[in-house]
C-alpha cells in the first residue's frame, strides 16, 4: 500500500515518524522483524536511498537493530517503546495547546471540549473500521 508523503518535509523523517506511530499504537511489537530497505522502498514507493537513511537514523536512535547478514529488527526494549509513545503524546498535546492558546481559549473550556470531542471522534472512527 502506497503512503502519501508531504513533498516539503524530508521523506526519511516522515518514514521514521510512521515507524514511531506504529510503535506507539501497537501495530509494531517489540523485537519484530522489519522490512528490508529494498522492501520498504517498494512498499512506500520511495527511493531505496531514502529508506536506507530512515533506517540509519532509527539505528542511531536505537529503535532498530541490524546484525550482520540478519534481517533488521525493532528494539525489544519496552522502555524505548514507551519513550516513543511519550514523545508522540507530548508532540500532539503541544500542538493542541499552541492552537488553543492562539485562539485565546481558557484551559477549562479546552479540556471540556477535548473530553467531549474525544468521545464523539472515538465512536466515529470505531464505526469506520
Amino acid at each position: 500500500m502506497k503512503q502519501t508523503f508531504n513533498s516539503r518535509d524530508p521523506l526519511y523523517l516522515q518514514v521514521v515518524r510512521q515507524f514511531k506511530e506504529k510503535m506507539a499504537n501497537g501495530q509494531y511489537k517489540p523485537g519484530q522483524e522489519v522490512p528490508s530497505r529494498r522492501e520498504l522502498a517498494s512498499q512506500l514507493g520511495i527511493n531505496p536511498n531514502t529508506a536506507q537513511r530512515a533506517y540509519k537514523l532509527m539505528e542511531e536512535e536505537d529503535l532498530v537493530h541490524t546484525g550482520k547478514n540478519m534481517p533488521s529488527k525493532l528494539t525489544g526494549d519496552l522502555k524505548k517503546f514507551s519513550f516513543v509513545r511519550q514523545e508522540l503524546i507530548q508532540e500532539a498535546v503541544d500542538q493542541f495547546i499552541e492552537v488553543v492558546k492562539s485562539l485565546g481559549i481558557p484551559l477549562e473550556e479546552a479540556q471540556e471540549e477535548l473530553s467531549r470531542r474525544y468521545q464523539v471522534n472515538g465512536k466515529a472512527s470505531e464505526s469506520d473500521d
Binding site: 513533498s7 524530508p10 521523506l11 520511495i46 527511493n47
Partner: protein
C-alpha cells in the same frame, strides 16, 4: 559517475544548449527537468553521441567516454523502436544478438515484473505495454548507467504506476539512472537529485531530500520559482 562538462549545441543559429554541466552518480536517480523544448532529450542524445555537439565533453567514472565505455551505458528512448510486426520475444532476441550485456535472467524477471507475455506482437500491445517493453529492453542490459527519455509520457495511470515501481525496486539498484521528465506526479519521492534546465543552462542542481530539509521546498516549489 557520469560527468557532463560544458555541453553546447546549436541548431542553425539557435543555441539550444549553451553551457550544460552536471553530474549523475551511480546508485542514484538523477532527473533532468525543464519545460518542453528546453533541450533535455538533446542532452541525453549528446551523452550517447547520437547527435553531434558543438562543444563540451562527457566523462564516465573519471574517464572520457570512448566507444568501449558505451557498453556501460544504455539509452532508453521515449518510444519503442522495434518493428511492430515483431513479437516481444523476437525483440528480446534481437537485443540479445546485438548487445553483449544482455542478461537473459533479468529479462525474464522483467517480463514477470511487468506482466507481459512474450508471444504478443508489438503492434497488438497497448500504449502502456509498449512503454513497458521499451523499459524492459533497456533494463535487461547489465550496464552501470541507464539514460531514459520521458519514461512516463502518454501512458495510462496503471502502466505509469508499474513503471514508477521500477525506481523503488532492485531493477535499478546500484545503477545510475539519468532521466528526463516534464511531469513529476508521484515521482518526486523517487528522485535523488534534480537538475533544472532553462534557456540552455543548468539553473539549479540539488538533492531533493536536502532541499526539503534545508529550505522546506518541494521540487515543484523550486520549479515554480524558476519557470514562473
Amino acid at each position: 559517475m557520469i560527468e557532463v562538462k560544458q555541453l553546447k549545441k546549436k541548431y542553425g543559429k539557435r543555441h539550444v544548449l549553451k553551457d550544460i554541466s552536471f553530474q549523475a552518480h551511480k546508485g542514484e536517480i538523477t532527473c533532468l527537468i525543464g519545460v518542453n523544448g528546453v533541450g533535455k532529450t538533446t542532452i541525453l542524445k549528446g551523452i550517447m553521441n547520437l547527435t553531434p555537439l558543438n562543444g563540451g565533453m562527457v566523462e564516465i567514472d573519471g574517464k572520457p567516454l570512448t566507444s568501449e565505455r558505451y557498453e556501460d551505458i544504455t539509452f532508453i528512448p521515449d518510444t519503442l523502436t522495434m518493428m511492430p510486426s515483431m513479437t516481444v520475444k523476437q525483440s528480446m532476441d534481437f537485443m540479445k544478438d546485438y548487445y553483449r550485456s544482455w542478461n537473459p535472467k533479468r529479462a525474464e524477471d522483467l517480463l514477470t515484473f511487468f506482466k507481459i507475455k512474450k508471444e504478443e506482437r508489438i503492434s497488438d500491445l497497448s500504449k502502456g505495454n509498449k512503454a513497458k517493453v521499451n523499459m524492459l529492453l533497456g533494463l535487461a542490459l547489465d550496464v552501470d548507467y541507464l539514460l531514459m527519455d520521458e519514461p512516463f509520457s502518454g501512458i495510462d495511470l496503471f502502466s505509469r504506476e508499474q513503471i514508477l515501481s521500477v525506481f523503488s525496486s532492485h531493477l535499478v539498484e546500484d545503477r545510475g539512472v539519468l532521466l528526463t521528465t516534464h511531469d513529476l506526479t508521484d515521482f518526486e519521492t523517487l528522485v535523488d537529485k534534480v537538475v533544472l534546465i532553462d534557456d540552455g543552462q543548468v539553473v539549479r542542481e540539488f538533492y531533493t531530500e536536502e532541499m526539503r530539509e534545508t529550505e522546506g521546498k518541494s521540487v515543484v516549489d523550486v520549479m515554480r520559482e524558476v519557470y514562473q
